[in-house]
């Protein structure tokens, strides 16, 4: 994991409320060279369905205006994110129609940025959240920036969302994670201090495939990274060392 992503991911537990979330988003914005960063859950799902939680680096006045005019009802980003799981490059959306044009021109006044990227997150029980970055820059710069950050942003989005569920008491009680035998083997070898190359050789798989096992195990365990996943697995008794 690259240093930048590592430092962001390690900061996820520092989020305890909307205020600390805002500080976290500031950090993402700075490290990924964006103008703005937003995490917003429109529904935390299950018993917390309808509960919202989030923060943004936008000017507070813009958020106020957005809510007052109920721009979310016509914002193409929201409408597109509601309908799918794939990340959305704002360039690809339909920005025609009067309310949408007004939204755009006002967003420009508040320096939202002319480019944006939104990762929708859908979960059980109607969970729905969006993680967004935006920036004012030429298209070429934007494409280059996205190409190098898309993967990190995807991971950050899911980490923040999981953590948001936890601090709001909306997380599903974690069922004992059903690690596959290979995931368990990979974690156990990692716990024993083996390098990735050694583990791959021992399990007779490529390092690429090892990465799949480790990331799938990490995701199931709610780990911030592979080492954290090992720690959780050891603590929970999923693997023995």
């Amino acid at each position: 994991m690259h240093e930048r992503l590592q430092s962001i991911v390690e900061a996820v537990p520092s989020i305890t409320d909307a205020g600390t979330l805002r500080l976290f988003l500031d950090r993402v914005r700075a490290l990924y060279d964006m103008d703005n960063c937003i995490y917003y859950a429109l529904s935390l799902g299950g018993p917390k369905a309808g509960c919202e939680f989030g923060a943004m680096t936008y000017d507070h006045a813009w958020h106020q205006r957005y809510e007052d005019v109920r721009y979310r009802d016509c914002d193409p980003v929201v409408l597109s994110a509601v309908g799918g799981f794939a990340p959305i490059n704002w360039n690809d959306l339909d920005w025609t129609g009067r309310p949408v044009r007004r939204l755009l021109s006002e967003a420009r006044e508040f320096r939202v940025g002319n480019h944006g990227y939104t990762i929708p997150i859908h979960g059980p029980g109607g969970q729905f959240a969006m993680f967004t970055v935006s920036k004012q820059c030429p298209e070429g710069d934007w494409c280059a920036l996205l190409a190098e950050s898309a993967q990190d942003l995807l991971l950050i989005a899911h980490h923040v969302h999981r953590h948001a569920l936890e601090i709001n008491g909306a997380a599903e009680p974690l069922a004992p994670p059903s690690l596959s035998p290979r995931e368990r083997d990979a974690l156990a070898l990692m716990a024993a201090g083996r390098s990735r190359a050694q583990i791959a050789e021992k399990l007779k798989i490529s390092e690429s495939t090892l990465r799949v096992y480790l990331d799938s195990a990490r995701h199931k365990l709610g780990g911030l990274n592979a080492f954290h996943a090992v720690a959780i697995a050891v603590k929970g008794g999923s693997i023995k060392i």
């Binding site: 429109l42 009802d73 193409p76 309908g83 799918g84 794939a86 009067r98 799949v212």
Partner: protein, 264 residues
């Protein structure tokens, strides 16, 4: 030409949808004799053909389906985890890993194996483009043993991590690593001048709204939407191109040339 279409948006391309689902019936039931459901219209569809599924479709010059694959993230419901988790002894779930299913080349195409190989290669390139754009690290898929040779010939071979059964009926679970190198390897085998449309945002705006989850006040939004549509219709003549005016460069109208990409 390759098009990317979300399940939600298939109704906007009725001919393509019709021929895709019929070709899938031809491929999976008639030719491979899989235990798949074919509806009275002759369409092979399953529970994973939902609004969220992302289809990569090879479009023939007459506008019909030449081949396709269906992509979805492993953080949601997947065929892999619902039906084939025994292969690995557990599920695979990660936002960085998506599954690919229903990889299909139309049984109607002319040109035999060579044409089939061209379409397969084009579809692999499409899948790789999607993954690079979304920042994925891997695809996972379950397939019959004979597909291994086809995948290899596209320049992007999977690593087989689990197998079940024997001979032609052997099931394989394969993982594809996403990288610029993989893309370059497929491009080297891809048909000259292949056009890939950009991956669109889900058309969502309108139709997805009707299916919006219960967490958002459905009635309120739909009311707004109707009002919005009416306002839009009224404004259509008066307004110029807002997208341009706002400084947004619409990238969804510029086709990308595989040839140009290769030269770059």
């Amino acid at each position: 030409m390759i098009r990317f279409i979300y399940g939600n948006d298939l109704t906007t391309s009725p001919l393509l949808a019709e021929t895709m689902f019929r070709d899938r019936a031809g491929q999976f039931r008639t030719r491979l004799n899989w235990d798949v459901r074919v509806d009275p219209n002759g369409w092979e569809r399953d529970q994973y053909d939902g609004p969220d599924a992302l289809y990569c479709v090879y479009v023939l010059p007459d506008g019909t389906h030449g081949g396709s694959g269906r992509l979805m993230p492993t953080t949601g419901r997947t065929m892999l985890n619902d039906h084939f988790s025994h292969l690995m002894g557990g599920e695979i779930t990660s936002p960085l890993i998506w599954e690919s299913t229903r990889f299909c080349v139309s049984p109607r195409i002319a040109g035999g194996a060579a044409a089939g190989a061209r379409i397969s290669t084009a579809l692999m390139l499409a899948g790789c483009e999607v993954a690079l754009r979304f920042g994925l690290t891997h695809y996972a898929a379950v397939f019959d043993a004979p597909m291994r040779r086809i995948y290899r010939s596209t320049g992007w071979a999977p690593e087989i991590v689990a197998e079940d059964g024997k001979g032609r009926d052997k099931l394989c679970l394969g993982l594809w690593e996403v990288s610029q190198d993989a893309r370059a390897a497929i491009l080297a085998k891809a048909p000259e001048g292949l056009e890939l449309e950009p991956v669109p945002a889900p058309l969502a705006g309108r139709r997805a709204l009707a299916q919006a989850r219960g967490d958002i006040d459905r009635a309120r939004i739909e009311g707004k939407l109707r009002a919005g549509l009416a306002a839009e219709a009224a404004a259509q003549d008066a307004a110029g191109d807002a997208t341009q005016a706002a400084g947004f460069a619409p990238s969804n109208v510029v086709p990308m040339q595989a040839r140009a990409a290769r030269a770059a």
